[in-house]
Symmetry: C2
Subunit: 336 residues, 2 copies
Amino acid sequence: MNNTATQKKAQPGLETLTHLVDADMKRVNQVIIDNMHSDVPLIPQLASHLVAAGGKRMRPMLTLASARLCGYHDGNLAVDMAACVEFIHTATLLHDDVVDESNLRRGQASANALFGNEASVLVGDFLFARAFVLMVKGGSLRVLDILAQASAVIAEGEVLQLSTANDTATTEQSYLDVITAKTAALFGAASQIGAVIAGRAPEDEMALRHYGLHLGTAFQLIDDVLDYSAHQATLGKTVGDDFRDGKITLPVIIAFAKGTEEEKIFWRRCLEDQNFEEGDLDRAQILIRKYNALEAAMDRAREYGQKAIDDLARFEDGPIKDAMIEAVEFCISRPY
Amino acid sequence: MNNTATQKKAQPGLETLTHLVDADMKRVNQVIIDNMHSDVPLIPQLASHLVAAGGKRMRPMLTLASARLCGYHDGNLAVDMAACVEFIHTATLLHDDVVDESNLRRGQASANALFGNEASVLVGDFLFARAFVLMVKGGSLRVLDILAQASAVIAEGEVLQLSTANDTATTEQSYLDVITAKTAALFGAASQIGAVIAGRAPEDEMALRHYGLHLGTAFQLIDDVLDYSAHQATLGKTVGDDFRDGKITLPVIIAFAKGTEEEKIFWRRCLEDQNFEEGDLDRAQILIRKYNALEAAMDRAREYGQKAIDDLARFEDGPIKDAMIEAVEFCISRPY
């Protein structure tokens, strides 16, 4: 292995990967715009609000990069299936924001805040269905299977998250189950289908699936760290959302486990009873720092990141592999 | 044509059809139970609440009946695809009840009332995704295409309904566009895939698609009539829901168009401003009767029902065709 997480650039970013798949991503964007069209004006209005807000576009890039890593070039199938992945992600974001009652997404007012919960639910359904129409057009039952299964697992993860919300007895394992399902599953599927599209052997498929799963887990661990540590302007969403929603993430699980009885009472009042007082978020952040819980969660993210990098070992060295490694390094060190 | 809507039985029912496909429907129910399983307990809990409540199961019966009419017998594919149709329908019901804030469904407390909106949205997503997993297992890209397209059209219809809600200027054509998309599309797809599964020619496919579309339109027209005329205990949902939600259905469009200026002011206050006073539902029902709007809407339903019966002309006479005709007659004369 020539590349490991220890050989970091000063500031790893997504730019290397973005640059390599730039032409294809432009085509992905066009496919997205073409397929969110509807004669019902509210649909493209709402969908384009979310699409225009941008986001990292990690998932479709993973499909394109994985296909490229597997020797696939210039075909339409990877572009179309990458668009499907982004559609599925966008549909889950719309439904998430309804479930979480979020008002901010990607630095802008969320769709539910602007257009109402009803429209967000229904346009999410529309995008999800359109993703399947596009997959059918692609004609690969294997890709359909992988993305349909991932979609079911994402929903399961979201329901599991609902069930663990407001429960300070949630274990680290339950938390990992939630983020594996709600986030890592789509990263894994997005990466795996790149190998499927390129017609590679099952071992290569599985290696890329694991790369995506590990990367996605690291990504979500850092997401949950940022919810307690980020600057709001950089993050593009409200800091402290998880705390106010009573979501039990790893920083909380660690700080709660190590906390005094009085601190546990504080956590229970906030997270279980949702009974907040002025200054509670500050206190939560102080307690999390007191027990080095953010650093511990970031260590976990780095472990998963290293696994993701190891998953790439079987593939040929080159610029695309380097960019996929740098994407991992970005995910575990990102400030947003 | 030996069979027309004019040769009615005294009280047409669904029993003839139900009886003919009974063995297959038992298998459909088992497939539904098997595929709504999840390790996250809330999912089967919520899903089985809705499934146990029953409902007419018209849509999966249409798939089974159409396949049978086309000479298909005893295979698993029709059973599995009928279950997919019911999953898609159940998912849309869960999301509908969130959008409409309904508290009653099939005579019981609705899932959102019992389990919350969040769980209803997410379990709907889960069932929808599982439907696609099951379709992929079936292996027919044609069936996948038809049901994916129908799913997108349903969501479009629901968004269009949101856009026309509270707007007394809604035309009859807009109303028909809404019900064609939100209801008839799945009836049409459910019937069409029966022919696809049986491997019949495109003309037979399209005839059954049209049968389903016409039947579904008639079904929804009567549904909207019942919202102003039914006995609540028989209907199994709250009478007057559409009125309170400001939904613009055909009875309202007719009564509004024929209404005096004072009556138009009444309709606008209720449906547009959602500003209700004691006795408003009674007054709405009186105005609707004054202009024979229910009878006019039922005439429309009968026209669509006759078209559905005509669509079956090309198929061989026999008990299954007779039952499909009786199903139409039931839909246009049903009290629930």
